[in-house]
Structure formats: C-alpha cells, structure tokens
C-alpha cells in the first residue's frame, strides 16, 4: 500500500486537522468529534444543512462547508458511515434556530446512523430544534426497486449541497429547503466507472483487482466492485454508455441540464475534460441544452482512477439557486 499517511487508524483525524489548518476562515472542528462546521456556526435564523458519510470522498463533504452550501459535515472512518453521536453533535452545533436538514446518501449504514441521530435529538427533547432529512439516490447503475436498498447516492449529492445550500442562504424555511432538495434529488442522475481499485488505509490492500484491459462499470464511491466488469473502451464509448444509462432513466428531452464530470480521485483532469467534450456532443445531438458544467474531483473514492457523470434537469428555480454565490474551501463562485 503506497500512501502519504502516518497511521491508518488516525488518518481521518489527521486529515481533519489538516483541513482546519488550511481553511480556518471557513471551518472549525467540534472538539472531540470528527465534525467540521462553518467557522461562524451556528448561523442564526438560517436553516442549517449538514451532510456526511464515510471519509475518502474528499472534498466531500467537509470541503463544501461554507457560505451557500453546507453548515456542517460529519466524517466517518474511511468509507464507513459516521456514528449517530457524531451526527447528533453536528446537528446541535449548526442549529441556528431555523431547523437542520440532513443530506444523506442512500446507503443502509448512512440512513440508519442519521436516523439514530435524529432519534437521539428527539429523545433529548431539544426545544428550538426542528430536524428533517433527505436521501439522495442518484446512481442509475442499480435498478431501483422497492424490495431492495434502492439506488446509491453518489456525486449528484454535491448538487443538493449547492442548490439546497443556496435555498437556505436565501432565507427559505426548513420545509421549503427540504422541498428544493427533494426536487434536485428527483431530477439528478449519475453513473460511474473505474479503471483501478482503491485501497482503504486500514485494509492495506485494494478492494478488488482488475486486469490490464478491464474496467468496472456502474460502481459506487466506496471502492466496491460495480454492476459489471468490461473490457476498457475509449473515453467516447464509455461516456456514451454512462450518458445513455442516465438518459434512459428520466426524460431529459427539451430540457436544460447541469453537468458534472466527476473524477474519482486518481483521474487526470485532462481525462475528465475529454469526457466532457463527448458529453457535450451527445447532449447537443439530443437537443438537451447545457446550462452549467462542473468538471473536477467533487466526490472521490480515494485514489481510484475513474469518473462519474451526473446530469441534473433544471427549472428556473434550480437555475437561480445553482447560480447563487457560494464560498467554501472546495467550491467557490461569485
């Protein structure tokens, strides 16, 4: 295992310290907890947003804590949902009196731990603490079905952070912010693939092995295998496959979309742009208009080489919120 770390057991703690030292104007850490909140948290009178999940997805989620996006982020062990006590601390720390919305990616562990945190909040009977949550399940690789866990949440989550974050910043109520978040969730779809596995520091070896000509398609962001393995194709072919799967899922025709070409951590940025070129061609051909594009490492899987593509169908409200200013360590726009 080749990693720039000191101790696999302490890597999350050391990372969080490194983040706080790098961005003291943006974030502070709750003492004794693996929780980052805005430097000026709680923001009085504003609906607060928290997110979280396992670590290893950086800059998600700590990198998106700041004005116009999240109020807090809870960091679990690498690829492991954070525990309810940590989440509960985050909720308390960001609560500015207008309620707290948890943005949860649809993994059994994440859902249950956030659920238990909410139960803790209820049990403590905190006055002045209204809570709500949304569950993101943008990954079209997995068929949706009522008798399974359903779809995963992957890179599309960042659009929820951005847009619901802007809604909260605008002064919307908890119910309204939640509605906005749900609208984004209903309209966002993603799918990913990878050329290499990644190694959880504490595991010490890769999660799977791939032949020199193989890739994993339809995989999540936790180093797990995908829905299937295939021979490596060209960037254009891969992009076409991913975009086709997304377009088959909901009707994007005649609509405007936001695009995210997301790197999984070990992908040269050059390659993400090559993919973006093809995404543009495909969408242009289908008459789908691109309103805004993000290209970069937003939701990673440690050092995995691969990419995911996300499309978000926009309406006027979503466009306005997507365009709103944001100022966080990993995403800033005027």
């Amino acid at each position: 295992m080749k990693k720039l770390i000191n101790n696999p057991e302490l890597v999350v703690e050391e990372m969080l310290e490194g983040i706080v030292k790098a961005h003291p104007n943006y974030v502070k850490q709750l003492e004794g907890f693996n929780v980052l909140v805005r430097a000026n948290a709680p923001v009085k009178g504003k609906v607060a947003l928290i997110s979280g999940g396992g670590s290893g997805h950086e800059p998600s989620h700590g990198g998106f804590v700041g004005k116009g996006m999240l109020d807090g982020a809870v960091a679990g062990a690498v690829f492991t949902s954070p525990t309810p006590d940590q989440i509960f601390e985050a909720i308390k720390a960001v609560n500015g009196g207008a309620g707290v919305l948890s943005i949860i990616k649809n993994y059994t562990g994440d859902v249950m731990n956030f659920e238990m945190a909410a139960e803790m909040a209820e049990m403590e009977g905190l006055e002045d603490l209204e809570i709500a949550s949304v569950v993101v399940d943008d990954d079209v690789a997995v068929e949706n079905s009522t008798w399974t866990t359903g779809r995963r949440g992957i890179a599309g989550t960042v659009f929820i952070h951005k847009i619901a974050g802007a809604a909260a910043e605008k002064g919307m109520s908890l119910r309204e912010v939640k509605e906005v978040a749900e609208k984004v969730i209903a309209n966002v779809r993603s799918m990913g693939m990878s050329l290499t596995p990644c190694t959880v520091p504490a595991a010490g070896k890769p999660s799977f092995t791939l032949g020199e000509n193989e890739m994993e398609v339809g995989l999540g962001i936790h180093g797990e295998p995908g829905t299937h393995r295939d021979e490596i194709k060209t960037a254009d072919e891969i992009t076409t496959h991913l975009v086709d799967k997304i377009l088959a899922d909901i009707d994007y025709s005649n609509s405007e979309v936001a695009v995210m070409v997301n790197g999984l951590g070990g992908t040269p940025i050059m390659e993400l742009y090559v993919i973006n070129k093809k995404v543009n061609e495909i969408l242009a051909e289908k008459g789908i208009k691109i309103y805004k594009t993000l290209v970069g490492n937003y939701m990673t899987s440690l050092e995995m080489a691969g990419a995911s593509i996300t499309l978000l169908k926009l309406d006027e409200q979503l466009k306005e919120l997507l365009d709103a200013a944001a100022d966080t360590p990993a995403f800033t726009q005027f």
């Binding site: 062990a77 949902s81 525990t83 940590q86 731990n113 997995v142 399974t148």
Partner: protein, 211 residues
C-alpha cells in the same frame, strides 16, 4: 445461567475473536461490499472490551447497554447501528438483573432480532446477518423449550448460524451494500452473517468450556 461476570467475559471474548477475524471479515466485505466490516467491528469491540473492564460488577442490562452504546458510537456503517440495536434490545430484557435465565436468553435473542429487523428493514433471504441470526434463534428457542439446556441450545444456534452463512453464498443480496452488485454477489458469503456466526460461536464455545 449466565451471570454478569460471565457476561462480561463472553463479550470480551467476542472482541478477541473479532480481532482475530478482522482480516477475514474485511476480505469478505471487499468482495461484495466496501471492505470495512472487519475494521469496523474490531474498532467497535476493541472499545467495548476496554469499556467493560470496569463494569464487571454492574447488572447485565448496564453491561449490554454499554456494549450497545459503544458499538453505536464506534462502529459506524450498517453493522454499527444493527449490532448496537441488537445489544441494546437484549439489554432491555435484563435491565437491573445480574443473572440471565434460559427464558431471558430466548427473549433477549428475540428482541435483538426484532431490533435489527426494525432498524434495517431486511428479511430472511436478503443476504444479511439475519440469514445467520434467524435460523440460529429458531433452533435456540425450540431447544430451550425442549429443555435441552442453554449449552446445547447455544451449540445448535451456532451450527444453524454457520449453515446460514453457507446459505448466503447461494443468494443475491437485496439489502446493504452488496445489493448493488445484483447477481454478482452470488457465490460470496455475507460478511455480516459471518460475524454473527463468529459471535454465536464464541457464546457456545464459552458455555461448552465451562461445563
């Protein structure tokens, strides 16, 4: 009967066995999950082991509740809330007691499973820890009811759990991370079912050793 002191010993022994099987559980989870099950449980049970050091003289409810709270706050992932809930529900049955009777044991086992089902919304056949737990509970209960005694019941439960683990190899996952693999998960044994078997085996071995 299991008293509070032996209860602590059993849980601490579980911690030892989980550590021994950390890599096995992690490897099983790498195949169809995200490769952290062994790491997660070891982190949790190591903390439990330490926490229980000063608690030998507490009642069984407190011991189990402390175990539960520690697991909940240390394990994370899917298994943290599930095992945490299981231990918490079991503890509620013996709150204030320093002895666990056979009857208690059946109730505790039942409550634990109900907790897991309520929390995780999975069923038998979904390729989860329940595929080890439910058959184990069924045989445990009938064995106790047949007055064959705790040791025999525990032994049969562990055996049933082991069969449950084997069964998980034959099915596709419908719950948890492995479900994203669809049919690709067939052929692999479920890590959570495996850890459940290991835990039940510790209990049965402990009781067997004592007699």
């Amino acid at each position: 009967m299991i008293d509070h002191i032996r209860l602590v010993s059993i849980i601490q022994e579980i911690a030892v066995v989980i550590k021994e099987n950390k890599e096995l559980l992690t490897e099983l989870d790498q195949a169809i999950g995200d490769g952290d099950h062994g790491i997660n449980l070891d982190r949790g049970f190591s903390a439990v082991k330490e926490k229980l050091n000063g608690l030998q003289n507490k009642d069984c409810g407190t011991i189990l509740n402390t175990t539960a709270m520690t697991l909940i706050s240390k394990v994370g992932g899917a298994s943290g809330p599930l095992y945490g809930t299981a231990f918490m529900r079991a503890g509620q049955i013996v709150a204030g007691k320093t002895q666990i009777t056979e009857e208690d044991a059946v109730k505790m086992f039942d409550a634990a499973i109900q907790g897991i089902v309520l929390r995780g919304k999975a069923n038998k056949g979904d390729k989860t820890m329940l595929d080890a737990l439910i058959p184990a509970f069924e045989i445990f209960k009938t064995t106790i009811e047949a007055n064959e005694g705790l040791n025999t019941a525990a032994t049969k439960a562990a055996e049933a759990a082991k069969e449950g683990v084997e069964y998980t190899k034959t099915i596709a996952a419908k719950k948890g991370r492995a479900s994203y693999l669809g049919d690709r998960s067939i052929g692999h044994q479920d890590p959570g079912a495996t850890s459940t078997y290991l835990i039940l085996k510790v209990v049965s071995d402990f009781l067997a050793k004592e007699n």
